[in-house]
C-alpha cells in the first residue's frame, strides 16, 4: 500500500508518512480546507504537541488574529502562550529572538511582512547570523510568519513581496506555500525546524479552499523544506511560480493546453533553499523556462533561477528564459493600474508562447 502511495504521490515529492499510518482509501471524496484553517490547525497541533511553542504578534490573541488565523488559540492556550504585543515590531521580534536563544520555540506573527521591515535588524542580524557567529553554540528555532505580497488595493506600503530579500540571506530558510496542503505541511515543518524560518503567506489566498487528502490531516504531516512540487506535468515549457502565482500559472497552463502547449508548472514552495535540482531537471526535459513572481524584477527570485539554469543547464535551453514579474514601480492604488502592475494570467500565457516560438515553430502557432 505504501508503495502504491509512493508512486501515486511521487510526482508531488511528498513521501513523509508517519510509520503507523493506517491504510486508507484515497478515492474517497476529497475534503476541502481553506488556507486559514490549514494554518490554524497546524499552529494548534504544534502548540499542543510542544509546550515551548508560543505565538506572539499584534492582535493574535483577543482580536483572534488580524486575519483570523489564530482564532480560538487564546481561549485554548491562555495569554502566556498566545501573546498580544504592542505595536513594536523591532522590540517584539527581538524578544522572540531572545526567547529562541534561551530555549523556547516562538512563532512571531507580523501583520504583514511590510511591517517586518522595522524588525529587519533582528531578523537578519540576530536571528539568521547567530548560529554561525556563535559557531553552533546558540541556535534559533524561530518562525516568522505573516502575509506577504500584494492584497487588493492596499497601496504601495502594504504590498511588497519580500521573497527575494529574505531569500538572499544565508542563515534563513524561506518558505512560501500555495495550497492548503503546502500551508499545513510547511508550517509544521517550519515550527519543528531548529533554524529561523521566514514563512511567507498570502492574504488573498487565506479564504481559498483546496481539496486535501486524508493524510494531510494527520498531526504528524510535514512537507520537506527545500523541495519544490510539480503541480502539473508537461512537456513543452516549464513555468516556475510561488504563492498566488501558482494558481495563475495553472490557469494559464489550462488555456495553453488548448493551444497545444503542454506546460509543466512547478510550485517552488521553498525560496531558500531553492530546489535547483527539480527546476533543472524540468528544464532539461522541456528546454524552455518561464519564471513567474509578483515581486519587483531587479534581483528577484526569477533572476536567481535564470542564473542557476544558465550555470547548470545552459546547453539544454532552446529559448531565452522569460521572466514575469511585477512592474518596477511601487504598487499603485487605482484598480486598473494595480492590475497592470501585477502579473496576470494573460501575461503568463504570452510569455509561455514567446518562449515556445523562438526556435522551430510549433504545430499550433496562431
Amino acid at each position: 500500500m505504501l508503495r502504491i502511495l509512493g508512486k501515486k504521490l511521487g510526482a508531488t515529492g511528498f513521501t513523509a508518512l508517519p510509520a503507523g499510518l493506517a491504510l486508507r482509501s484515497y478515492s474517497s471524496s476529497a475534503k476541502q480546507m481553506t488556507i486559514r484553517e490549514a494554518l490554524k490547525s497546524a499552529l494548534d497541533e504544534e502548540m499542543a504537541a510542544d509546550q515551548s511553542v508560543f505565538l506572539m504578534g499584534e492582535e493574535v490573541g483577543e482580536y483572534q488574529g488580524a486575519y483570523k488565523i489564530s482564532k480560538g488559540l487564546l481561549q485554548k492556550y491562555g495569554p502566556e502562550r498566545v501573546v498580544d504585543t504592542p505595536i513594536t515590531e523591532s522590540g517584539f521580534t527581538g524578544i522572540g529572538v531572545g526567547a529562541a536563544f534561551y530555549g523556547l520555540r516562538p512563532v512571531v506573527e507580523f501583520m504583514t511582512f511590510n511591517f517586518a521591515m522595522q524588525a529587519m535588524d533582528q531578523i537578519i542580524n540576530s536571528a539568521s547570523k547567530t548560529n554561525y557567529m556563535s559557531s553552533g553554540n546558540i541556535s534559533m528555532p524561530i518562525v516568522f510568519r505573516g502575509p506577504n505580497g500584494a492584497a487588493a488595493g492596499v497601496g504601495a506600503q502594504h504590498s511588497q513581496c519580500y521573497a527575494a530579500w529574505y531569500g538572499s540571506c544565508p542563515g534563513l530558510k524561506v518558505l512560501i506555500p500555495y495550497s492548503s496542503e503546502d500551508a499545513r505541511g510547511l508550517l509544521k515543518a517550519a515550527i519543528r525546524d531548529p533554524d529561523p524560518v521566514v514563512f511567507l503567506e498570502n492574504e488573498l489566498l487565506y479564504g481559498e479552499a483546496f481539496p486535501i487528502s486524508a493524510e494531510v490531516l494527520d498531526s504528524g504531516f510535514c512537507i520537506p523544506i527545500g523541495k519544490a512540487k510539480i503541480e502539473r506535468e508537461g512537456k513543452h515549457v516549464t513555468i516556475t511560480a510561488f504563492s498566488k502565482m501558482v494558481g495563475f500559472s495553472l490557469k494559464a497552463a489550462e488555456i495553453l493546453a488548448k493551444d497545444g502547449i503542454d506546460a509543466e508548472v512547478i510550485n517552488l514552495r521553498s525560496i531558500r533553499p531553492l530546489d535547483r535540482s527539480t527546476i533543472n531537471a524540468s528544464v532539461r526535459k522541456t528546454n524552455r523556462l518561464v519564471t513567474v513572481e509578483e515581486g519587483f524584477p531587479q534581483h528577484g527570485v526569477g533572476a536567481e533561477i535564470c542564473a542557476s539554469i544558465v550555470e547548470d543547464s545552459f546547453g539544454y535551453l532552446d529559448a531565452p528564459i522569460e521572466r514575469i514579474t511585477g512592474a518596477d514601480v511601487p504598487l499603485p492604488y487605482a484598480a486598473n493600474l494595480e492590475r497592470m502592475a501585477l502579473p496576470q494570467v494573460e501575461d503568463i500565457i504570452r510569455a509561455a508562447k514567446r518562449a515556445c516560438y523562438r526556435s522551430l515553430p510549433m504545430a499550433a502557432t496562431a
Binding site: T15, A16, L17, P18, A19, Q51, S52, F54, G78, P79, E80, R81, V83, P86, T88, S90, G91, F92, T93, G94, I95, G96, V97, G98, A99, A100, F101, Y102, G103, D121, Q122, N125, S126, T130, N131, Y132, M133, S134, S135, G136, N137, I138, S139, M140, P141, P170, G171, K173, A189, R192, D193, P194, D195, C222, I223, P224, I225, G226, K227, P273
Partner: protein, 432 residues
C-alpha cells in the same frame, strides 16, 4: 492607583496585566521602605532626593543612590563593611582580570594579532564586576560590542576569549564571531551585538523565557537577565520599546546603562534632550536608579536590590551607572574630542584603585595578597595569549559550517526522518 507616596517610599507600579493575575499580590510585599535602597535601612527618608517630576508616574520613584553607603554605615555600626574578605578578593580579581585582559588586547592589536573592530572596557570594570558577580550560572548576560569583560566576568575562560579575538578555532565561537560577538551557551552569555540597541530586545526575550518557563511551563525558574548598553543606545527606539514591554509584562530583567558620556565622538549632552537617563524608567513604570559606576561597592549594592527584585517577580529596573572609558571608543579611534582634563579627572576615580584603597583601609586583605592576585592574573592573561598564539586557524571546511543548526540538511527525507540531503546549498563559489 494611589498617590500616597509621602511616607511610603517605593511602590513600583502594580500593573494589573491580564497575563499574570497572581503577580498583583507581590505588590503588597513592596510597601516596606527598605525594599529598594540598601538592604538594611529601616528609617530612610529620601524626600530630599526625590525629583519632583517623578511624582507624575503614580508611585514609582527614581532616586540617586550615592547616599546609600553613607546611610548604611550610620545605621549599622556593628558590621559597617559592605563586603567580606572573600567577596573583596573576588571583586578585585575580576576587575584586575578585566583590566589586564583589555590592556593585553591593545598590545596584541598593535602587533597585528587582532584585527577589525576592538572596543575596550578600561575604566568601566566596576559595572561589569558589580553586577555580574551576583549572578548564577543560569542567569543571562546580553551586551554590546564592548563585551570582552562581560564575558570574562560571567565565567568564559580568558583563553577562549583571547583565541576568539585572534580568530583561532579554539575561541569561544571558533573564530567565527570575533570581538563583537561573544556567545557562550555554557555560561549564558547571549552576545555580543554590533548594533546598539539590538541586544536589548534579545535580553528582554531571555527574560520573557524565564517568565514563560515559570508560568506556562510551570517550571521552577527565577533566572534573571542583565542587559548592558551605553548612553547612545538610550536614544534608540528599541530601548524604549523594551522598557515598555518589560514593565508591562513584569519581566525579570535589569537594564544596565553604562553611561560613559560618549558615543564614539558624540557627547551624551549633545545627543540627548534629557540627559538624565534614570528618569526614563519611571516614565514606563519601573524604578530608575542612578549610581556612581566608578565605585564597585555602590554598584554592587544597587545590583543586589535590582536583581532580587527581578527574581521575586516584581519586574524590571533601569540602572544608570555613571562611568567612563579610559581609552577611545575602539582601538581605531584617535580619541581627539574628549577633554584631557575630563580624562584626568576620571583617572583619579579608577575603580580598581578605589577598591584597593577600601580593602586596605578596612584591613580586609594585605597588600601582599592583592599583589599576589595581580601576579596571578598577569600569568593567566599571558597564558591566554600563548594559548591563542599556538592555536590553529579554522580549517577551510569550517567556512560552511553552522549556517544552520541542522547543517547537513533540513526538512523530512523520503525515509520519513527529519532530514534531507542537499549538500551544495551553502557552498556558493567557495573553493573548499
Amino acid at each position: 492607583m494611589a498617590f500616597s507616596a509621602t511616607t511610603k517610599i517605593i511602590q513600583p507600579m502594580c500593573i494589573n496585566s491580564a497575563r499574570s493575575p497572581d503577580k498583583s499580590d507581590t505588590c503588597t510585599k513592596l510597601l516596606s521602605p527598605s525594599s529598594f535602597l540598601g538592604s538594611n535601612n529601616k528609617q530612610f527618608s529620601i524626600n530630599k532626593t526625590i525629583s519632583p517630576l517623578s511624582r507624575r508616574s503614580a508611585t514609582v520613584v527614581a532616586v540617586s543612590s550615592d547616599v546609600v553607603k553613607k546611610k548604611k554605615v550610620q545605621s549599622n555600626p556593628a558590621s559597617n563593611l559592605l563586603i567580606t574578605k572573600e567577596e573583596g578578593l573576588e571583586l578585585y580579581e575580576d576587575m584586575i582580570l578585566g583590566r589586564a585582559f583589555e590592556d593585553m588586547c591593545a598590545q596584541m592589536y598593535y602587533r597585528g594579532k587582532m584585527f577589525g573592530f576592538v572596543h575596550l572596557y578600561n575604566g568601566q570594570e566596576a559595572v561589569s564586576t558589580g553586577f555580574i558577580k551576583l549572578l548564577g550560572n543560569r542567569d543571562c548576560v546580553v551586551s554590546t560590542y564592548r563585551d570582552h569583560v562581560h564575558a570574562l566576568s560571567k565565567g568564559v575562560p580568558a583563553r577562549a576569549v583571547m583565541s576568539e579575538l585572534f580568530g583561532k578555532t579554539t575561541g569561544c565561537c571558533r573564530g567565527q564571531g570575533g570581538s563583537m560577538h561573544m556567545f557562550s551557551k555554557e555560561h549564558n552569555v547571549l552576545g555580543g551585538f554590533a548594533f546598539i540597541g539590538e541586544g536589548i530586545p534579545v535580553a528582554t526575550g531571555a527574560a520573557f523565557t524565564s517568565k514563560y518557563r515559570r508560568e506556562a511551563l510551570k517550571e521552577d525558574c527565577d533566572d534573571v537577565t542583565l542587559a548592558f548598553f551605553g548612553d547612545g543606545t538610550c536614544n534608540n527606539g528599541q530601548f524604549f520599546e523594551c522598557l515598555n514591554m518589560a514593565a508591562l509584562w513584569k519581566l525579570p530583567i535589569v537594564f544596565v546603562v553604562e553611561n560613559n558620556l560618549w558615543a564614539i565622538g558624540m557627547s551624551h549632552l549633545r545627543a540627548t534632550s534629557d540627559p538624565q537617563i534614570w528618569k526614563k524608567g519611571p516614565a514606563f513604570g519601573m524604578p530608575g536608579v542612578h549610581v556612581d559606576g566608578m565605585d564597585v561597592l555602590k554598584v554592587r549594592e544597587v545590583a543586589k536590590e535590582a536583581i532580587t527584585r527581578a527574581r521575586r517577580g516584581e519586574g524590571p529596573t533601569l540602572v544608570e551607572c555613571e562611568t567612563y572609558r579610559f581609552r577611545g571608543h575602539s582601538l581605531a579611534d584617535p580619541d581627539e574630542l574628549r577633554d584631557p582634563a575630563e580624562k584626568a579627572h576620571y583617572a583619579t576615580r579608577d575603580p580598581i584603585t578605589a577598591l584597593k584603597k577600601y580593602v586596605m583601609e578596612n584591613s580586609l586583605a594585605s597588600e601582599a595578597e592583592l599583589t599576589a592576585i595581580e601576579k596571578k592574573i598577569e600569568e593567566v592573561v599571558e597564558e591566554a595569549v600563548e594559548f591563542a598564539d599556538k592555536s590553529p586557524v579554522p580549517a577551510r571546511s569550517q567556512l560552511l559550517e553552522n549556517v544552520f543548526a541542522d547543517p547537513r540538511g533540513f526538512g523530512i527525507g523520503p525515509d520519513g526522518k527529519y532530514r534531507c540531503e542537499d549538500p551544495k546549498f551553502t557552498e556558493g563559489t567557495a573553493q573548499l
